[in-house]
Structures are given as C-alpha cells and as structure tokens.
Point group: C2
Chain length 662, copies 2
C-alpha cells in the first residue's frame, strides 16, 4: 500500500475522529475500522462522479451501519461532493447542519439512503440492485449497456443480526442479483460487548445458504486484498457476493481499538491525539488534511468524471440509434407522468355494482400498468389475496428481470425496504403489498419511506374485522392509527370505486411522500356522493338539508355506507345529518382552515365517528361532546357479517349513537 493511499485512508479516520470529538457525540468505531475498505472501494472500484451525484448509471453505495456517518461524510468531503466543507464536518450533529447524526437522504448531497435503523440499508441495497436489473433488462441493447452499475452496501454485525438482512439476502440469492456486493465489516464487537454473547453463528455460511459467493479479507487494512475481493465479487456473473472484511473497531486508537467503548462515544481528546500520533498524522490540528491527500482525491474524482463522460457519449449514440427507447427512458424518469390522468374518463370509470376495494384496486393497477411502463410491484406472498398482480406483465425472476410482478416471499419488512431501495434508485414507480394487519411488520421501513419522502405505495388489504374467520391475529384494529400518526405518509381508506381510484391517483402522482392504500376484503356498494373531492382527504359525501346540520357522521371506508344509511333512517325521524367521508385524514389535515370549517362546522358538536377500528385519533374531530362507533378491543373469528353485528357496526347502532348525543 503506497503512502498516498495510506494517508488517504487515514484522512477518513482523522476527520471522523475529529468530527465526533468536536460534536462530543457520535460513533467513531465504524469509520476507524472500515476506512480502508471504504477508500479502496470509492477510489478504485466504484463508478461515481462527485460532480454529478445524480448520474443515473452511477454505482450505488449505502452505508447500512448509518451510525458510522462520519465515514460517509468524510468520503463525500474528500471527493468534493456537493461542496461538503470542513466546516460542515465540524458542524457534525449540530442544528441545521449538513451532517446530521445519521445519513439523511435528500439532506446531504451524495447520501443515497437514510440509514440508522440497522439492517435497513441491506434491504434498500437489494431493492436498488433489483431496479438496476429490471431497467437493464428493459433498456440495454447490444453494445449499449446504458444501465450497468453495481450496488455496494456496507454494514456490520448489527445489520447481520437484524432479521431484515436474512429476508433481503435470501431473496437476493434467489434472484441471483450478481451486481449486489455486500461488505461485511466484521469486528466481533457489539454494544454489550463481544459478539460471542449473542452471535456465534457462521455468517459466511448463512450467505452461502442464501446462494451468495462469499469472500473473506483477513486484514481489513490490506487495500490490495480488499481490491481483489471486490474484483472477484464483480467477476461473478450469476450470484451476489458478500465480502467478510475482518476489521478492528476503533482501529488506530490504542486505548479504544477492539473495544465496545469505541462504538458510540467520542474517543476523548487525548485519544484523538494518540490516534493521530499512532497513524503518523503530520499535524494535530483538528480537521487537518494535507494538500497531497486532497490532490489524490481530486485526481480520482476527475478520472471518475471521465467515466460518466464516456457513458454520456454512449447514451447519446443510443438515443440516436433507438429514439423510441430514449423516449421510453424519459417516460420512466418523468415523476409527473401520471398527472394527466386527473381528467381521463377511462381511468376514473367503474361499474356500478358492489365490489371489494381490493378488487377495485386490482382494476386500477391493471389500468396503470398500461399507462406507466415503469410501474412495478408485488406482494409478500399474498398477491392472490391482495389482488396486486399485473396481468400479462410477467414475473421478475433470476431468468427474466424484465417481469414487472415481484415476488417478495413471506418477508414483509424486507419488502418495504426493497421498495424504498427501488424508489430511491430512480426510474421506477414501485408498490408493495400485504395484509393490512401485517403493516405491523412493515412499519420500521414505512417510517423510512416517510422520512425520506419516497413515493412508494403500500397496498394493504383485509382492512378490518371484515377479514372474518381468520380472527384477531389477522384483523387490524390499531393499524390505521399507527400509520395515520406517522408524519409524511398519506393513508387512504377508500369507501368505493371513485375513492379507490382517487387513492391510486394520489399514489402515482406523489413525489414527496409514500401512500398507503387500506382496502377491504368484502364487497362495498358504490356511493352516489363519492367524488374526486376524496383527493382532499375529507369531504361531504351526503349532505344535510340545513346549512348547519343537527349532527355529523364521520366515517371512512366500509363504514361510510353505514353513515349514509343511518342518515336516511334519521331523516325519517326529522333529524338532519351530514355524512363526511374521510378517506385520508392526513390530506384532510393539510387543507385550509376554511375548507375544514366548511366540511366540519365548529358549531356542530353532535359528531359521531364510525370506523371499524380503534377510536384513537378521531377525537380531534369528535371533540368532547361527540361519540364513537368503533372497536373497543381486538376482533374475533367468525363470518364477517356476524362480526360487524357483534361489534355494533349496524345502521341501528349508528342511529342510536347519534340520537344519544342529540
């Protein structure tokens, strides 16, 4: 290893240690331990152009062990990404800085994914590799491999312990994603001590079981060995690869090296000094990097820029040779392609007969697939039930990456992470699907969708006690509250065809937030009052005669029908009720105060919320004087119609509840 390489590796270490020390908070252990593999990868094996971080064909790199963010920030600074300055590094973990505690997508240029919750990056990397494989299958032509890049992910023991990594990599092996390369920072240390206390498994063997090529680098500071392993990984054209890189946590810091205490706290000023001395660093000044090191990084960055130039030239030729493909490419990368559908009558058409919203969703999915060629998705082994199959679009498999139907297996959490990865990659609009009750499994990764603002769509069917015989383990109660309470996700629970189409319209036109579609197993009638107003999240679906009604019934999904029926009954008794459909509480909240007042006049205090779910979250509309027809506990196993009756979801009970508060 020549001196400039050593210096360049150590620059990462020094910057990471200084940043954590300055912040007096952070995780120096991972950056110190894995600086060498990261440098070798970024400097010599990864196609990336710091001058254009959004180059479509760049190799992707995800730091799954997001706590080691200073590793990434140091690399981004040294390579000159987005003018990330020394001052930015010195502002590590400070208010409004570009260098938050964990890497945040959309916040810092060059960060491909938000990571921190362990294992998440592993799943997202698989999603990116799937996107690459699909786009390559769709776009590449002889001599024009316009989509041809690797996805690298780096994580440690924690990422490997998390179940999501087993889920994601089992699928990656099945799919033979040969351009996925996992760097396992194996340092044998966890927060509670040596990994032997909880993790003696043979990780390499597990990956062999998944169908990976497995490689081992015994000395995590040996750049040559690391480089050879990466090239061997690239050379395998049938399997993904996992490289175990044996490292020492906190490498270079004599007092901390190999210890759990190196993980998540500053080294201490004395130890930072000792680190620099030990590494033979020329100066002790904080954030000092010799010019020759910067020059080295600059040289590499320039040569990387050339790689993009070559690609640009190839792409220009490709566009000439295949103008129809260039046009298709632009469609794939047009986030707003679906907006034209707002007035498309065919898109909004439906048959006026009772239908489950999951079936209506299936109808819409099969419309969208013809409109958006980059629409892709699938289910965690429930497509026949969640009705998410795109007819005639083939299955994404090892033998054919052009299929648009994804089979995730029974792996809900990895599915959501993979969906995030696909959305982050660019070029595709993805959806994922499972039973609504299993949004519980999905939640940690749905949170990342929301935090990153990626427009992934969650199709969640079997949305209430309407599940029926499968019983309480399969009947959502609190899942609506769980998702509605999460920032930056729009949760639709449509009441009929129009609202289902509106929900999908919202989903495929969103550019800044994920959407969840919560759909029934059972048939629902088409409601005369439903309309595109559903896009506002809440609207009057069946109005009172009087401007100020005697009472307001609020409902969503399958219970809107109950509200409409109760209103009709109450009218017979001279009680004038307004029915408000709330297909998406999140969007309704975002409407103007005027609109909300028009729909829900404050003067009307007799308000009843009707929803086959917990009442949790409805109080802001129901107030102190209203009432609820909601679930008070878990569901039960019986035919659905009997359950609705048992739990009070009847016209009679809604009528009685309204009268009870008048």
């Amino acid at each position: 290893m020549n001196n400039i390489d050593t210096m360049s590796v150590n620059a990462i270490r020094v910057l990471a240690a200084d940043a954590v020390q300055k912040a007096n908070s952070g995780h120096p252990g991972l950056p110190l331990g894995s600086a060498a593999m990261a440098y070798e990868l970024w400097a010599k094996h990864m196609n990336h152009n710091p001058a254009n971080p959004k180059w479509a064909n760049r190799d992707r790199f995800i730091l799954s062990g997001g706590h080691g963010s200073t590793l990434l920030y140091s690399l981004l600074h040294l390579f000159g990404y987005g003018d990330l300055s020394i001052e930015d590094l010195a502002q590590f973990r400070q208010l409004d800085s570009k260098t938050p505690g964990h890497p945040e997508y959309g916040h810092t240029v060059g960060v491909e994914a938000t990571t921190g919750p362990l294992g998440a990056g592993m799943g997202m990397a698989v999603g990116m590799a799937m996107s690459e494989a699909h786009l390559a299958a769709k776009f590449n032509k002889d001599n024009y491999k316009v989509v041809d890049h690797y996805t690298f992910v780096l994580g440690g023991d924690g990422c490997m312990m998390e179940g999501i990594s087993s889920e994601a990599f089992s699928l990656a092996g099945t799919l033979g994603l040969d351009k996925l390369i996992v760097l396992y920072d194996s340092n044998k240390i966890s927060i509670e001590g040596d990994t032997d206390i909880a993790f003696t498994e043979d990780v390499k063997k597990r990956f062999e079981a998944f169908g990976f090529q497995t490689l081992v680098v015994e000395d995590g500071n040996n750049l040559e060995e690391i480089g050879k392993a990466i090239e061997a990984a690239k050379a395998d054209k049938t399997r993904p690869s996992m490289i175990t890189v044996k490292t020492k946590i906190g490498f270079g810091c004599p007092a901390k090296e190999g210890k759990a205490s190196a993980h998540g706290e500053p080294l201490g000023a004395d130890n930072v000094t000792a680190l620099k001395e030990n590494l033979g660093w020329p100066k002790q000044d904080a954030f000092y990097v010799p010019e020759e090191v910067y020059d080295n990084y600059k040289t590499i960055a320039k040569s990387n820029a050339k790689v993009e130039e070559e690609w640009n030239a190839m792409f220009a030729e490709y566009a000439k040779a295949y103008p129809e493909m260039k046009e298709l490419w632009d469609t794939y990368y047009d986030e707003n392609a679906a907006k034209k559908l707002i007035d498309d009558e065919e898109f909004w058409a439906f048959a006026d007969k009772p239908e489950a919203t999951r079936n209506l969703s299936h109808m819409v999915i099969n419309r969208i697939k013809d409109i958006l060629p980059n629409f892709i998705g699938g289910s965690a082994d429930l497509a026949p039930s969640t009705k998410t199959y795109m007819n005639g679009e083939g299955d994404f498999s090892k033998n054919d990456y052009s299929g648009r139907n994804l089979h995730f297996g029974v792996r809900e959490l990895a599915m959501a992470a993979i969906g995030n990865g696909m959305a982050l990659h660019g070029g595709l609009r993805a959806y994922v699907s499972t039973f609504f009750v299993f949004s519980d499994y999905v939640k940690p990764m749905a949170r990342l969708s929301s935090l990153m603002g990626v427009p992934l769509t969650y199709v969640l069917t079997h949305d209430s006690i309407g599940v029926g015989e499968d019983g309480p383990t399969h009947e959502p109660i609190e899942q609506l509250a769980m998702l509605r309470s999460m920032p930056n996700i729009n949760v639709f629970r449509p009441a009929d065809a129009t609202e289902t189409i509106a929900a999908w319209y919202h989903a495929i036109t969103s550019t800044t937030a994920p959407t969840a579609l919560v759909l029934t197993r059972q048939n629902l009638p088409q409601l005369p009052g439903s309309s595109k107003e559903a896009l506002k999240g809440g609207y009057v679906i069946d109005d009172s005669k009087k401007a100020v009604p005697d009472a307001i019934i609020l409902a969503s999904g399958s219970e809107v029908e109950l509200g409409v029926n109760a209103k009709a009954e109450l009218a017979k008794e001279g009680i004038d009720v307004r029915v408000v459909s709330i297909p998406c509480m999140d969007l309704f909240e975002q409407q103007s105060a005027e609109y909300k007042e028009a729909v829900l006049p404050k003067a009307v205090r007799a308000r009843v919320a009707v929803e086959a779910a917990t009442d949790f979250g409805w109080g802001k509309y129901v107030g102190l004087d209203g009432a609820y027809v909601t679930m008070k506990g878990f569901g039960a196993s019986a035919p659905a119609n009997l359950l609705f009756e048992k739990f009070g979801f009847t016209t009679e009970n809604v009528v009685a509840t309204v009268k009870g508060i008048l």
Copy 2:
C-alpha cells in the same frame, strides 16, 4: 407403520378437512401435509398430560404455522384436551366457538401460544426453551430434574422466510438450547406458487450456520423415520435441532396435493370425499372417527398421565428434601408476589435530584431483582443505554443458564417474541428492552403480547427528540400513538421518580396485559405533586386554585415539567391553570366517568396538550376548542436542548398557547 397409527394420522386429516369444509373457510394444506409428524410427536415423543394441560414440566408444542389450526384442534380433540368436542370442531371459525381461525392462547385449552403472524411461534419457542433452561439451572438438583422438558415448534416455509426466525434461531444456536426442536414442514409451496419463485435458499445450511444439528426426513409420512429424527434431536445435548420433514401440502387429496390451492381454501365437498376414499377412510360422514382410533388416543393419553404422576412423586420428594427450593418454586409461580410492594417505603424511595427516567428505571430494576427472584430480562444490545442490567445477577449464556441478564443481540422483533415465550412458559417475569423508536421493530410481537394478555414488560428508552444528536431516525414521534392505540397494553411515560416507580409497580403486578415503559435519556426534575395516583393513569399533579380552572394543561413524561412551569407563569398573570399528568392514557381511560370528570371537568374547554410527540390521540381530551404543543413532523439532529427549543417545547410557548385559546 401399523394400521392403528395410520388410522390415527388420517383421523387428523379427515377432521381437519371436514372442519374447513364445514366452515367453508380455512387452511387444509398444512394439516394434511404434516399430520404424520404431528401424530408421531404427540403420540410417542412428547410428555404431555391431556388431563392437566398446565402441568409445569410438560413438553411444549407450538404450531408456528397457525393457519393450520385444525391440525392442533384435531390433536387436542383426539387426545381429549379440555373436552374439545366434535361439535367444537364443527364450529370451526364460528362466532364464540372454541376453535377460532388461528389458535388463541387462553381461549382453547391446550393451545400454548397464539400464532398466525408467521415466524412468531418460532421466536416464542426459543423463549420457552430459554425459560426451561433458566428454571432448570435454578431448580434442578442431583436426582431431581424437576425442570426437564423439550420445546417443539412446527412451521413451514413461510415461518422460515420471516426474518424473525433467523433472529431467534441465530440466538438459539449461540445459546446452545439443546432442548429446542424445530420441525420444518417443507412442502415447497407458498401462496403465490412454488417456493422457487422467492425462496431457493438452503434452509438446512442456514440452520447449520446458526449452530443447529440438522436432520432430514425424506418422507413426511414415514412415522418411523420421523420418530428416529426426533430421538436423534433429543440425543444431542449441546445444540438445538432442526428436522426438515419433506411433505406434500394437501397430502391425500388427489386434486389438491402439492398445489398452492391446497393452502388456504376448503378442498371442496367432492375433494373431501375423494380424500376419504383415497385414505381408505371407513365412512364418508362428516367428522366421523372410528372408535378404535379414539381408543388408541385414549391409551396414549393415559400413559402420558402416568408420566406426570411420576413427576409429581419426584417433585414431592424434592419438596421434602429441599423445602427451601419448594418455597422458592412457589415464589416463582406466584403471579401476585409483587403486590405487597404498594406500601413498601423502600421500594418507593428516591433521591430528590434531577434524573433521567431510564436511570430511575435502572434503580427500580435493581430493587425488583432482589424482591422477585424470577425477574429476568435484557436488551437488544443496548443495555448500557437502556439501563436494564441487573447488577451482580450474571449473564444468561450457553455456559451458564442461571444468569438473569439476557443478551438478545440486535434482534428487536425476536426479542419480543422470546419475551412472550418466556412469559407463556410460566415461572418467570420477563422484561425486554430497546430504544423507543425501535418499538417499530417490536410492534408485531407486542401485539401478540397484548392479544394473549401476557404480562411482559417493554423498557423503551430515549423517548423523544430528547435523543438529540442521533437525529430523526432515532427520535420517536408517532410511537406513543402506535402503542397507545393498541388494545390491552398499558403504556407508561413517567414524569419523574415516583411515576417511574409506579410504572414498574404496575408492570410487575400485572397479570393480564403487557406494560410498556417509555423513558427519557435526559434528566428530569422531581415533581412535588407526583404520587401513586399515577397508577390511575392520569391525575391532577398541580391544581388550580379555583374548582373550575381557567384552563387545563395535559402532559406526560418530560413535558409535565413544562406544564408546571407554564402554570406558575400564568398564575402571575392571574390565569388559574390545572396541570394534569397522564403517565398512562390506557389506564386513565379505564377509570370511572366520575373520576375522569373530576380530573378533566367537561366545563373546562380551554385545554392544551403538551407532549414531544405527535398530537394524534390527544383530541379526545383536548376537544374542538383546545390546542396542542406537540411535534408536527419528524425530529432533527442537534443537542437535545436546542431541539426542544426549536420545536416549541418551552415554557414561553406553552404559556402563549394557553393564552391563545382563552
């Protein structure tokens, strides 16, 4: 295989097929495929006494593939458990029957765990095996192995795909839980078709990587081979075992065997007839079982009863030889042992200085460990941060199962399932712990805690933007809403030492519901008004002068202090405010209408909720006229004090908000 065994196996198949057909709903595939292994296990290798399903030393059996519930119900009926009758089987999946769609703990005698969400049973089985190992280490004496039983778990491809099984079994291998035996019903079929579409991994090899003994039975109908494998599994005294049993889904039904369609729908009347003909079943009548088959099961049940008799005799001798151990045993199995603490001054004592509630919790944990010898728990690799270590109580490890500190590794979901399994096993009172934001990972299994009503305690620290520099991936926003909205769990967010002790008191005295403790990273002051009233979930912590205050401030945890400070400021301006602390919304909801009215008089409409979390769920107390000081989106990365300021959690802002609605 002799005729009566064949008949007994087929009785399971016939009953399962009939039950699903009668219900016109259910999953016949698993019971038909795995009837032979289940029979062989229950009839010849499992110590269980149908006459006493709660015998402490019984072998445990969990059907992780809970959708195959008719397998379990048929076994329970045939062995004579709890008078589960043919009529009960005929009522499969009907309202209020003993035979719901998925097995429910506490609902049907002999069901050891609620299953259905795939993989859950795998994790719970590991927990049961850990309980057995710990209790054995604590109680067994030479010649008196009073705790000495196996834990069997049966699941299919779906359970193996779920990440939780990798998490749980990686830990089981690390811990060398030799009395854990996994039966893998390998039929190569999933709902979307052949498992090859998503699951080509070498499962056996994965288990080898985890450190399991792996065994294979090529013919899932060969009782002798199954029996041999089970005995070989028992014979390994250093490792858990996994037996791959190759089966055909829907075995015996010519039109369905080996097909995905056998999984989750009735076979159809004609196919049930064909099944019975194909199996040579003597009669076509629904639910017909020949007397000789019943006799066979009865004979086995009787001989099993003898095994318990022998154990009872041994235990009686043991009690004589070691009276102090018998006394200890009774303490372990006394669910109400902690109730005496309600007036124990030492238990409720604390120092009057600012302290983080996670540290206070650590203090209480270390009191409880001395009071409840069966108190056991640990963290998902975060004990130094969540402060859950019991000092001087040793670590539970392969070399020493008597340790009371559990190391789960970075495996939150499996941790919760394992905690459930430990609680279900009996004899121990368990807690599990992680960062509050990672309750997202925990949620699916916390739901099972709630559904089963097991008193597992969740210690969830770093409860808000008080996390600070780690940033939004680590800062809970919607997690309080997520857990509060779930039925049958009590979520405490204590404001100081008294409330923290109260929360723990509730947790260790609960017998019917899990408890979540949501604790701060940062210091909080001791509040003069806090009291044991916290056990009511909500109470007046700082009262107004007037009986009807001008306004009410509601808060929990770290924000109660803000409420108290704002009240003092407002008093200077002549505004008379009441401060209500809501440490546990769930318990407050359960109080009488009178109590709730006394705390929150309906006449007072000026109400402000203050909580460093989403406002979601506070509306029921705040009403249409109140206001919120809450989080409107995700957090950020910065020192905690700056974040509280940035997001409006200041006395000034609370004061202004109160004045804004007066």
